[in-house]
């Protein structure tokens, strides 16, 4: 891996399953040298989009590109993009090592490479055990090893953290970071922003098959407005105060949610002599922004 990875492009992509528009006029690009988080709630169309990117599903409209051409038009596509789509797609009766060896010829790598990779993903001890006895985390690791067979300059992983133990998640995070630093293109999907927010440089967020946000993670964080929860015996006075400062207000449990930093709200109340019984910073974090963008509800 010396050359930078290929850019991935999704252009005007749409997919209908009967009357259901699973993906709708979706356009975004993924740059090399960065980890891009592909985010959205379950059922947002992430997997369908990835399947279209990898030539497994035919788009109703639009196209997808890996570098300068569609995935399937590369001579050895698995050497260009390493993909892990589901942690469940293994024959349970095949050993982990045999699974890699089955696909090695078409990727153009040796049995030796399979052996090295299974050690690399931490499955060395289970290499000769049948996959049927693997845990979800082990299957994730095997799926990752399969994706890495061809030492690909681009890596596409669908929900790779599902089922991984905390240690595994840290390991995966470092691995993806290292890949991006080497100049590879890394696209990772997740339905939980928190899972990837320490890993990704860029985010592409979709909901109901449509793009709702694409930017760097820093720009997404910029959308995170601070909130302050206030309780007071004189709520109308607080509301008047907020109106003076042009702060948006929403009703809270027994008080008010003010869309402003708690220090400013507290200072303003002190200056105006408004009695407060609670002043709590509920700073909207990235997760809130994500949920707001995708129309979801915090569980």
């Amino acid at each position: 891996m010396t050359q930078p990875g290929p850019a991935l492009a999704v252009e005007g992509l749409a997919k209908s399953f009967g009357p259901v528009r699973a993906v709708d006029d979706l356009t975004f690009a993924v740059r090399p040298g960065a980890v891009t988080g592909f985010l959205g709630p379950n059922g947002a169309g992430k997997t369908t989009t990835l399947r279209m990117l990898l030539g497994l599903t035919r788009p109703t409209a639009g196209r997808t590109l890996v570098g300068d051409r569609p995935y399937g038009e590369h001579a050895l596509p698995a050497r260009v993009v390493g993909a892990a789509l589901e942690a469940s797609s293994f024959h349970p009766g095949r050993t982990g090592l045999a699974h890699l060896e089955v696909f090695a010829p078409q990727v153009g790598v040796s049995r030796r490479r399979c052996r090295d990779l299974i050690d690399f993903v931490g499955l060395g001890g289970a290499a000769h055990r049948r996959v049927g006895g693997y845990s979800t985390g082990m299957r994730q690791r095997l799926a990752l090893a399969t994706a890495l067979l061809g030492d690909p300059p681009a890596i596409v992983l669908d929900e790779p953290a599902n089922g991984l133990d905390p240690e595994g998640i840290v390991w995966l995070r470092r691995l993806l970071r290292a890949f991006a630093d080497e100049g590879r293109t890394v696209l990772v999907s997740s339905h939980v922003l928190a899972e990837v927010q320490h890993t990704v440089d860029d985010v592409v967020i979709i909901a109901a098959g449509r793009l709702v946000h694409a930017s760097s993670l820093a720009d997404l964080a910029g959308l995170a407005a601070p909130e302050t929860y206030v309780e007071s015996p004189d709520l109308p006075a607080v509301e008047r105060l907020c109106a003076e400062h042009a702060w948006d207000v929403r009703p809270g449990e027994r008080g008010l949610l003010v869309l402003a930093p708690s220090a400013e709200v507290g200072a303003a109340a002190y200056r105006s002599g408004v009695e407060l019984h609670q002043l709590a910073s509920r700073g909207a974090d990235l997760e809130d922004v994500f949920l707001r963008l995708t129309g979801g509800v915090r569980s």
């Binding site: 997997t47 990898l54 993909a83 009766g93």
Partner: protein
Amino acid sequence: MRNALVAEYRKLVTTRMWWVLLLACAAYLGFIGAVLGFSLVFAPEQQGGVTLHGIDAATAVYSLTNGIGYVFPLVIGSLAMTTEFRHQTITQSLLVEPRRGVYLGAKLLATVPVGLLYGLVAVTAVVAASAPLLAGWGDGAYLTDGGVLQVLALSVVVIAVWAVVGVAFGSVVTNQVAAIVVILAFTQLVEPIARVALGSFAGLDQVAKFLPGAAADGIVGASFFSSYGSGAGELLPRWAALLVLLGYAAALALIGRYTTLRRDVG
């Protein structure tokens, strides 16, 4: 294509199914071979009024490899395809080989060596179980006769062709359970009845020999059915029979290519 062939071959031999089914095949055919050999030797007059003697008896027993055993290569072939869908390995398979025609072609061809192994084991099982009976108590095993050896060799070949037909069938019926049920129903019930029934009507008896099982008998050049003159005795010449059976594989594979493998995967 070579890499795709190696991959498909590895898929077949890296699970236990191929040898479990091979053992079952050997055991079943050995049992049937012994039973038929025994009944021919010790109670020949009970066989539907027709008595088989000498080389005819030997050929009739040996042709069981195809006549009874073809269900095994069909099943192993169909499993090669249906397991991909059952366990969703089709996704990874098409990631490394997006050209779906190449994928299917490799799968069809990669079953040939496994099919030949099944053929070899099946023939060996039938011969090993029946030849001692025929030689010891009957009119002889005829294992040095050119015609008999040809029947045995072509039985091996025809079993391999059945495995290819199985893959092609699996590409059409991708549900594993459904595929096996259809194969069992067709081979054990539908075709035997159809061959006898069609053979009983003038005009339709010409149709019977084009049925896949009858075509396979035609390749071997001997048929358990024809031995007993059940009315479905007439077989195609060997070359035509081979073309007919390969035609079934090709037709099924084409249907699979343009239905199953045209669809979205996953």
